[in-house]
Symmetry: C2
Subunit: 363 residues, 2 copies
Amino acid sequence: MTRQNLTVAVVGATGVVGRTMIQVLLEREFPVGDLRLLASERSAGKTVSIDGATREVELATGEAFDGVDIALFSAGGDASRELAPLAVARGATVIDNSSAWRMDPTVPLVVSQVNPDDMEGHPGIVANPNCSTMQLVPVLMALRDAIGLERVVVDTYQAVSGTGGDAIRELEGQVRAHVAGEPTHRAVYPHQIAFNALPQVDVFLDNGYTKEEWKLVTESRKILHLPDLRVSCTAVRIPVFVAHSEAVHVETRAAISPDRARELFSAVPGVVVQDDPSTSTYPLATQAAGSDEIFVGRVRQDPSIDGDRGLAFWVVSDNLRKGAATNAVQIAEALVERGWVRSAAARGVAPYAAEGSAIGAGA
Amino acid sequence: MTRQNLTVAVVGATGVVGRTMIQVLLEREFPVGDLRLLASERSAGKTVSIDGATREVELATGEAFDGVDIALFSAGGDASRELAPLAVARGATVIDNSSAWRMDPTVPLVVSQVNPDDMEGHPGIVANPNCSTMQLVPVLMALRDAIGLERVVVDTYQAVSGTGGDAIRELEGQVRAHVAGEPTHRAVYPHQIAFNALPQVDVFLDNGYTKEEWKLVTESRKILHLPDLRVSCTAVRIPVFVAHSEAVHVETRAAISPDRARELFSAVPGVVVQDDPSTSTYPLATQAAGSDEIFVGRVRQDPSIDGDRGLAFWVVSDNLRKGAATNAVQIAEALVERGWVRSAAARGVAPYAAEGSAIGAGA
């Protein structure tokens, strides 16, 4: 196992996404020599369980990144802004799940199936997109490449795990209170989430949009290399634990049939079409949870657009996996495959891109 | 109280909507002289509680409508198709909550604030729109009248009570099973509804749309008198007990600002604007449940439409009340006010439209 010698840090290792990152690294047999589990002061000293073994999480300081090849960050924007440059200065390549660096013009924002080549010559930080953007963009890419995109309208049905462990416990607590006939309590969300739909994900911007909605607009444009793509979005939190769903209405440049769209979607790596109304087969949050794929269904012509240039469909994916951890690991795989891990390359450990390596072609 | 002499039948009196109809008739002090509670064979003989008194529900036969002035139907399409003509033949005016008669060109389809005048010369049946259409159309009317509508995209977040009492119990049962750590059971929906989002409301049509989605398209056009209005819809069931939410994206004929749209919406009777991002104030299912109003918020410019001709917003209303029972009673009020209750008019009991009557101007 001579190539399994990368030193990988997970920053935010006690969080919902951080723990999923560790799991996905193991599942995909990423060539980890040394795994460092790091967290902010609030969580350092806690333990996490890996394959049955208990590991203590250490404080994320600049020094903690000495010798690290790849650092997967999921500890929030403040931690990323402060620590990512320190990690990069020590030779690590940072794959950052926060929104801190995504719209920095020097930082590639990457969905593994869509734009891995944007990482060539990266500045040490690669940004992992927002979860609701992540699952949408590979599907839009198929339409962009085949016929061109005019306008996209997306309304989301987002799981509480996107907010974190506290939000999962808040929904669980409210549901238990309901069953017990007791009053519900809330602390994470501004309103009760159980048996409700909150049209607010993240904070509000001055233009009346939430940050989540605006992320989907701006990140989609950047990843798809369509700076003028017209996107409208309402982001909504619903009482689901894991997996985001999205109702999508697309106006295309040329005519396209639902059958052709299904073919195009099926051809995208990591995208699975589930679409048979006769058996009520369509993507579902409860079924997508735990999977790395993006599921698409309910594909149909949108009659409100002339000339068969309209499509409507439904996209579901596990927001913790493809929407966060899995894509981060897939970015790491693509960096390794292309020999673009900075410090590793500096130390002459490349080539990593040899055919038939354990790394596979997941990117 | 000389005008409180109408004989009113509620057909489907044991159902969720039927019971709400009885409640709304009482709350709004509709001039009921005699109240007949009817149901199909499956439910006849059951009892319902009205203001603390227990009443037995009788079998809905043709004869049961003898002497009835107004019959509020909410017993499903089959019962409406069979019984409504029998009731009309006996002189009753039927207000039907099923989809059976809605698209019949001779039958008015009415939202009380929007098109009550469509009932002039009605054939004995007036149709009550689908719940998800109901809450949307008064808001769209404001834009139609002020600047004109080009295209509407709507994605729904619908409560289980729209399906009926069995669905409420199914969600409740699945949530209790989750809390108890037991497997969930389902019978009403094709998939688990707890902690899930089902992109299927009602059955599928050949064009890939669900009947619910297609109802919203065709019923909106009929009510708004816009036979060519371009509408795209995805209808989704979520684990909410009462009140439907809708994410709406509208393309208008002329430029409009969010402020102007809020003014227009506020001016529609029965529509309440709740819109202050700084305090996380927006319409919520849990707050709308039990109210007769339609709540609108999250009003903002849609930047994906050029020339300030795009708006996005969020609409919430109690699907059992304004979405069904309240509008049915408001239709009855409008019929009485205008002297358009057929049998009553035939019996010379009019005029009902006298100023200052107990009936009010709810229509």
